[in-house]
């Protein structure tokens, strides 16, 4: 089968995407497919028309690749592709929109407030900060609304740290959110074709629990899969993750990140196109479920070609 692998592009997560793409290409070749890698650029539509692939494997992360832009084009060109549809991608990458959807569906997600740069510049939103700081309590997590990995995510431990954290988050997106910090265990659920794979727990090896950059670095974070959880905890987490995917319309595959607090699971965000690198969580979960990387890639392709396979 002729498969194009879309990767790279202009996203800030270009590096991760290139690694995901390379691994997928390799697996596809082992499986005997004809593979055409495309580093996504201004000639994307031209190249897709010229290559006429049977399916596109989307290995792009971050804004520009995971936000529905490329998916929209694939839908227009009538090329089946892996991962969620354009609309689901657009809903998932925008944390503000995703959390609003979760709230609507009754899924627990930490309380938050979202602001655009315009709100501060033209509407004096800064005057509302003190009120919401009181509501959320410290520390507050400040995040760009769109964007993946840990880029631009900051903890503000006190009111004095909020402006700096906001300036940082606005570097990545024009809308940011302030979110209540939930203490607890960090878990991730990868969902494949409507089914949850074994849960991964990320345990920081040492040091600052607020160091987001350490999160996905081998040696600085220890990953346990399947996570050591009671049956009750496991089903609460799985239910929340599956409900989130349903609410956002994430078919095919996705990864849901949660915090397991003392009062149960809280959904933080959904990654419509989770990383597929050597250190990524989806391949770890698949491995724990007894699937090789090739099995995983095959299953993802099957889901793209006949969504009813889910």
């Amino acid at each position: 089968m002729k498969v194009v692998v879309l990767k790279g592009g202009r996203s800030l997560e270009r590096g991760v995407s290139l690694r995901s793409g390379a691994r997928v290409e390799d697996a596809l070749e082992r499986l005997g497919h004809e593979v055409v890698p495309i580093d996504v650029g201004a000639d994307l539509v031209k190249r897709l028309r010229a290559e006429k692939p049977e399916v596109a494997f989307v290995a792009m992360h971050g804004v520009g690749g995971e936000d529905g832009t490329a998916q929209e084009l694939l839908e227009i060109l009538g090329i089946p592709f892996t991962g969620p549809a354009a609309a689901a991608c657009a809903r998932s990458i925008d944390k503000v929109m995703a959390k609003a959807t979760m709230r609507g569906a009754g899924i627990p997600t930490p309380e938050f407030f979202a602001f655009t740069q315009t709100a501060f510049r033209d509407l004096g939103a800064a005057d509302a900060l003190t009120d919401l700081e009181g509501t959320l309590g410290f520390p507050i997590v400040v995040k760009p609304s769109r964007g993946g990995s840990s880029l631009g995510v900051k903890f503000a431990a006190s009111p004095a740290e909020v402006p700096g954290a906001l300036v940082a988050a606005f570097s990545y997106d024009d809308r940011v959110m302030l979110e209540r910090f939930v203490q607890g265990r960090e878990v991730a659920v990868s969902v494949l074709g409507g089914e949850a794979l074994p849960i991964v727990e990320a345990i920081p090896a040492e040091g600052d629990p607020y160091d987001f950059e350490a999160r996905y670095e081998i040696g600085r974070t220890h990953f346990v899969c399947p996570a050591d959880l009671s049956p009750t905890e496991r089903s609460a987490i799985t239910d929340a993750a599956l409900a989130t995917c349903r609410a956002l319309g994430c078919e095919g595959f996705a990864r849901v990140d949660l915090i397991l607090g003392t009062d149960g699971p809280w959904v933080l965000e959904v990654n419509a196109i989770p990383g597929l690198t050597d250190t990524s969580l989806l391949p770890q979960s698949a491995e724990a479920a007894g699937m090789s990387f090739e099995d995983l890639v095959t299953r993802i392709l099957d889901l793209a070609l006949s969504p009813s396979a889910a």
Partner: protein, 468 residues
């Protein structure tokens, strides 16, 4: 019977997470100093063709005549193919050392050729000297900020790195004296002081004559070595030439590191170390262990190039070219950077160091800059600690005037947006920001101000006030 593995596929089979953790268990402790992957990924985007990169440290090699390179290489092939393709002595060829002596003489130094070892670029020179002198936990002193490429070297040998603040006259020797006394009281003797005294990378400042003399005196007094890294000594665009530390000291306590990278080509990977004989002997042993010898082919190239004369006129051409680019960048900075920013005015070298208000993290700013297709090096890379987060290194040698203007304009715009945003975040109205004082400074104060350490306590008290 033992099964013979099949020839490998063109790419390695998938490495499982368990494999990775198993490797991680084998890694040496010194590898844990590696930088965050998020920042590495950001730097991956700077390589995109549409990005104007002021992040590199690249000389402009496009000015070197290709026909000259072709003629020289043909001559080597015709006359010395066998020798040029063979191994060479670990310390380097005598004839190439003569070229080095010529370069150093142009800066007023007269080294004994026997004190020289030719290295694979200046970077290896730093590595070999550190390997020779530093045990884990030993103190190494350097400037704050220091050459970003030296940080991973010092860290990989597990040095205890102490960074000394600079001002417009280079390293603050008074602070150095304090540190040396402090260390002495603790019974610790630092192994060496690493410095780029002329047109410092990344600071762009030059150590004054008075401080040079005092530094050399202190080295003698405390019997510690000074490692003088001088890649840009001949690239002076204005002001008076100053004597190298090596010249002032006579080579007893100063180890000199040089390179052909900035006066000829970084691609040939030729640098050198000049050290007192006992130190040199160990450096040569270390070099032998690392790579046996420096490329003989490029050593032949340098010999050939120098034998034709005219190397100085090429350096003069570069000086003219870079002087123009420096001036362009300084003009663009004055036009496009907000009043809250300060920057150094280098008299030579390749870099300008800009300092922004404390609340701007240049790592995050880089993400915003990349959305506008422009890149720089975030200042934190030049520190071993958390300092430098609000500064950046800007290169003016590797890009043309038009790109410099456009690049600085774009960076200025994103900084301006962050400054405006921060101001709007204060419910108390326009704040009296510390950076504002820059407006009241004398015209040439930009240089000084840029390297004055910013007192964290004086910065960003806005929210505290707002909350009473």
């Amino acid at each position: 019977m033992t099964e013979v593995p099949q020839p490998p596929h063109k790419r390695r089979a998938h490495t499982s997470t368990r494999d990775l953790e198993r490797y991680a268990g084998l890694f040496a402790e010194r590898t844990t100093v590696m930088r965050s992957s998020a920042m590495r990924d950001l730097m991956a985007v700077t390589a995109r063709p549409e990005v104007i990169s002021l992040a590199g440290g690249l000389p402009d090699t496009s000015t070197f005549p290709p026909e000259r390179l072709a003629a020289q290489m043909s001559k080597i092939a015709a006359e010395s193919a066998a020798a040029a393709l063979q191994y060479g002595p670990t310390e380097g060829f005598d004839e190439t050392k003569d070229c080095i002596v010529e370069v150093m003489a142009a800066e007023g130094m007269l080294p004994d050729p026997d004190d020289i070892v030719i290295t694979t670029g200046g970077q290896q020179a730093i590595d070999l000297v550190t390997k020779t002198l530093v045990d884990p936990g030993d103190v190494v002193i350097c400037e704050a900020p220091t050459y970003p490429g030296a940080v991973p070297v010092f860290c990989s040998y597990q040095a205890d790195v102490r960074q000394i603040e600079m001002d417009g006259d280079g390293m603050r020797i008074d602070l150095l004296e304090e540190l040396l006394d402090e260390l002495k009281a603790e019974g610790r003797r630092p192994k060496f002081i690493y410095t780029v005294p002329s047109f410092q990378n990344p600071g762009g400042v030059t150590l004054s004559l008075e401080r040079r003399a005092r530094l050399v005196e202190l080295a003698r007094l405390h019997e510690i070595l000074v490692v003088e890294d001088s890649p840009y000594g001949l690239l002076r665009y204005s002001g008076e030439a100053l004597p190298p530390l090596y010249q002032l000291d006579g080579g007893d306590f100063v180890i000199y590191l040089g390179t052909f990278s900035k006066i000829l080509s970084p691609g040939i990977r030729l640098g050198w170390v000049v050290a007192p004989p006992p130190v040199l002997e160990k450096v040569v042993l270390g070099k032998g262990a690392t790579d046996l010898c420096t490329s003989t082919l490029t050593q032949f190239f340098v010999r050939q190039y120098f034998s034709e004369g005219g190397w100085k006129s090429y350096v003069e051409d570069l000086v003219d070219l870079y002087r123009g680019r420096r001036d362009t960048m300084l003009e663009a900075l004055a036009e496009h950077f907000p009043a809250e920013a300060t920057w150094t005015e280098p008299e030579g070298g390749l870099f300008i160091w800009a300092t922004l208000p404390e609340y701007i993290d240049t790592g995050d700013l880089l993400a915003k800059a990349l959305r506008n297709d422009v890149a720089f090096v975030p200042g934190q890379a030049a520190y071993v600690d958390e300092r430098g987060k609000n500064s950046m290194r800007l290169n003016f040698s590797g890009v043309n005037d038009a790109e410099i203007r456009e690049g600085i304009k774009r960076i200025g715009r994103v900084i301006g947006e962050q400054v405006d945003l921060f101001e709007s975040l204060s419910p108390q109205g326009p704040p009296g920001m510390p950076g504002r004082e820059a407006e009241d400074m004398p015209a040439d104060a930009g240089r000084e101000a840029a390297d004055v350490p910013v007192d964290r306590d004086n910065v960003v008290p806005l929210r505290k006030e707002a909350n009473g």
